[in-house]
Symmetry: C2
Subunit: 228 residues, 2 copies
DNA sequence: TCTTTGCAAAATATCTACATTTTTAAAAAA
DNA sequence: TTTTTTAAAAATGTAGATATTTTGCAAAGA
């Protein structure tokens, strides 16, 4: 009964490649040489091309016919466009969630906010980054889930995938700064309060602010690294 | 200079498969047998798996590990969710477009509205459907483009891909009915007028109405065909 | 009799290795 | 320099090997 359902290799190749692209192991614009990938991930071309095709569909990789694959480029212009799009979409979704969310929705938000606030620097900083990010995503995910539309949430996921590489730059700066973390914690608490009060316009405004704060920081990091 | 840039086979496999799924050649839920696909599209498994991987990323196909691929199911519940999501997202985008669109935007809308209104039943009805649909999409695309956000438009494209199968059911009913076409033509004209007047709340309301009209018709078709 | 179980055969999905085509680079010629 | 030629590198496609799932059928159990 527990044969640990063997995944096909394409699926794990996809997960590993995506993770490495987001973390900058494969930087923006890098040529993804089949021979390198085969060696690095110990896979044949078949599964790799499957994984790359999916990443192309997600716009994290671009394919040039007969010339292989490349990590999608990054730019400050794109950074700004993604965050702009996210702010608007997230605003729409939160508005719907406030109109449609039920008691279970509220309870879930409280639960996720609690676990997020309790993240402590117990193990190494690398671990810390993972845990904080996971719980942070879960918290915002719980808020968005209230909109009740699978397809709006799907669109939101798409933008999340796009922003991940930029957000990773920010995470590395932020998670290790306890004052930045403390500031976020306060924002989250205020957000929960406004959500429970179902104050739509207030929440919209707060979410927007909250979402956009990383932008100047990321812009700075990108300039420092010459990624503009 | 014009070597007609050879595409890799995966790309054309993707286009053909997608088209056939949207048109119902491969109905919802159908098992996509490799041997059948190889025969039908005259391709090896490699390019086919590439194409299928992309379609999986777009949620038009679902993959079950070691058990191959299946056309994603359809349901009335999904129909309603997609249209709901679309109505909200399109509303958001149009609002932004009204705030941000310039003169070129207005001009492009007028141009596209004109070509759409001029579609005549010159050749066969099959051809007619293609042309009307293409111009209809171009018209609404021109309106949305005004929002100026590549990533919001990308999210919109994603929903369009999702809805395409349902919309195809509707198109077949509508395009051959000249009164339905005439009704649409009036809606479009009114929409253009309100857009040029930059009456955001009016446009939002109209777009929503315009977008949702197909839903009851499609629901009917689905029931008739036992796709509920 | 009807249902369940076990097994082997067939069908199917998946992967790899190699053949083919195309691009890139390097060297030679103009 | 600029162009042409040539060799190496890389991408792409196919055929066949391997592993997995499904199916058909018979025997056991209810």
């Amino acid at each position: 009964m527990e044969h640990s359902a063997r995944q096909n290799l394409g699926v794990s190749a996809y997960a590993r490649l995506k993770r490495d692209i987001i973390r900058g192991v494969h930087p923006a614009g890098e040529k993804l040489l089949m021979s390198n990938l085969r060696q690095r991930y110990d896979l044949g071309t078949g599964p790799l091309r499957e994984a790359l095709s999916q990443l192309v569909a997600e716009h994290l990789v671009v394919a040039i016919s007969q010339r292989g694959y490349r990590v999608a480029p990054m730019s400050v212009a794109e950074l700004e466009d993604i965050y702009d799009a996210r702010a608007h979409l997230e605003g729409l979704i939160v508005e719907l969630a406030i109109a449609r969310g039920d008691d279970a929705w509220e309870a879930d938000i409280l639960a996720k906010a609690h676990t997020l606030a309790k993240v402590m620097d117990v193990s190494g900083p690398e671990e810390m980054l993972d845990i904080w990010d996971r719980r942070h995503q879960a918290f915002h995910g719980a808020i968005a889930a209230g909109c009740g539309s699978r397809h709006l949430l799907q669109a939101r996921e798409g933008l999340l995938d796009q922003v991940e590489r930029y957000r990773h730059l920010w995470l590395c700066e932020t998670v290790f700064s306890s004052e930045a973390l403390e500031y976020k914690r306060q924002e989250h608490a205020a957000l929960v309060e406004a959500l429970l009060a179902r104050d739509a316009s207030e929440v919209c405004h707060m979410i927007r602010e909250h979402l956009m704060t990383p932008v100047p920081i990321i812009r700075e990091v990108m300039k420092r690294r010459g990624l503009e």
